[in-house]
Symmetry: none
Subunit: 257 residues, 2 copies
């Protein structure tokens, strides 16, 4: 499968809770170097974000960067959400791909819709709550003894690899990776917003049924959110499932219509 | 040709006339991330270099960095000298390779001796005099409109590519899928029996909620059965989902436990 060069425009770089304005600026610079335009920041340290935006020579990318309060909103239009990790807070429920190994999956994702590439804060990386929104995780192959990269450098390396993949895909003659199997191969994957709606409706039902216990509510929410992401739903199936869960939810709520 | 992992130790990163201490620190950090140790600086802006060396948490790489006045001395022990360029001050007497295309030449150089990878100052890059020491030039494939990278990011991208080349040489014989996968890669897929139990419990809930209409009952059953099969559930997830649906089903059935 060759990748339409315009597909790079479907990458959204998402910075979650970034502190250092220099890092935000460095990310924007790497994006312009490699041809990416869509930058989104979630809960940046406010003075830091304002400073970066207003810096002399701030790029059009920074000026156009969108700000969000919730990760869910920042990724709502994305059908593939990739988190970055050093592999230390390794979460066994997620598949972890090394950057190079991830290229085919990223390429396939870009061929079908918007792809979010999410980076956590300089100190802590992505939280478990952030990770719950991710379909899978990406790890830059650093040394195990020194896994933690500078944020701007990590973004640059990822974008280099993705741009490189696109370039070589562009030059490839034929389709080597047939993506997924089955008739659904060219179906639209569900967007993050659709997955989140399913998650919410299912959680409502689980609350009404007593499945959710007060003491473990946060953990259960997390588990449900991850489970729904692991299903690899297509948009059609997401709509179907949402319709079913809504109907059940209304019944649970005592509404007999 | 496979590359001896120890060969990475034969790379010398040479920074010529670097101004910004943050950049020197960032270069050292990227080196430690990717397993390179030998940093040499030529005519750094003095206060800047001292500041970087004495910074809290300065790495062993920075502490061991050697300082030179002349490029010729900094590269004296190297049998291959590679300059980096944005391609703008293009010197027609030099061969310019893109980073990825350069990997074989770098690998061959490392097999034979020490290799210098030289980066110029933030503002001007390498001078013509510096370039005269180079066997050939390397260019990171940035956009022509935005070719100039941040120094720390440029070094990180180059070292990622060189380390990647070494790693893939190292793994060439072994398994083709590197890294991948948390526990879910080798998790057991759900059995047909598990899928059918989920289907039945979900269908019961859909009947109780009025989602299933008598006239289309057979078609709905079929749709639900197919949907559940398309989810590609692992056995663990199947159990999780079944538990949730059962709890909801009991509530719908009027059983409050």
């Amino acid at each position: 499968m060759t990748l339409d060069p315009a597909a790079l425009d479907r990458i959204r770089v998402i910075l979650v809770c970034t502190r250092n304005p220099l890092n935000i600026g460095a990310v924007a610079r790497a994006m312009s170097n490699f041809g990416f335009a869509k930058l989104r920041v979630v809960n940046p340290y406010e003075p830091s974000f304002r400073e970066a935006k207003s810096a002399v020579g701030a790029s059009h990318i920074l000026a156009a960067a969108k700000e969000f309060t919730l990760v869910a909103d920042a990724i709502a239009d994305c059908s593939l959400v990739i988190g970055t990790t050093t592999g230390r807070n390794r979460d066994v429920s997620h598949r972890i791909l090394s950057l190079e190994a991830a290229r085919d999956d990223i390429r396939a994702g870009l061929a079908r819709g918007a792809v979010a590439l999410m980076f956590g804060s300089e100190k802590r990386g992505l939280s478990n709550e952030d990770l719950a929104h991710c379909h899978w995780l990406l790890r830059i192959p650093t040394l195990e003894e020194h896994p933690s990269m500078n944020l701007g450098q990590a973004v640059a390396v990822c974008l280099y690899e993705i741009a490189r993949s696109a370039a070589s895909a562009r030059n490839a003659h034929a389709a080597e990776t047939p993506m997924t199997a089955g008739t659904h191969a060219d179906a639209q994957p569900a967007t993050a917003a659709e997955l989140e709606r399913i998650t919410e409706v299912l959680l409502d039902g689980l609350r009404a049924s007593g499945y959710v216990k007060p003491r473990t509510e946060a953990a259960t929410e997390d588990n449900v959110r991850r489970l729904i992401r692991r299903l690899n739903l297509h948009s059609d199936d997401a709509k179907l499932l949402l319709g079913m869960l809504r109907k059940i939810g209304r019944k649970l709520g005592g509404d007999d219509e």
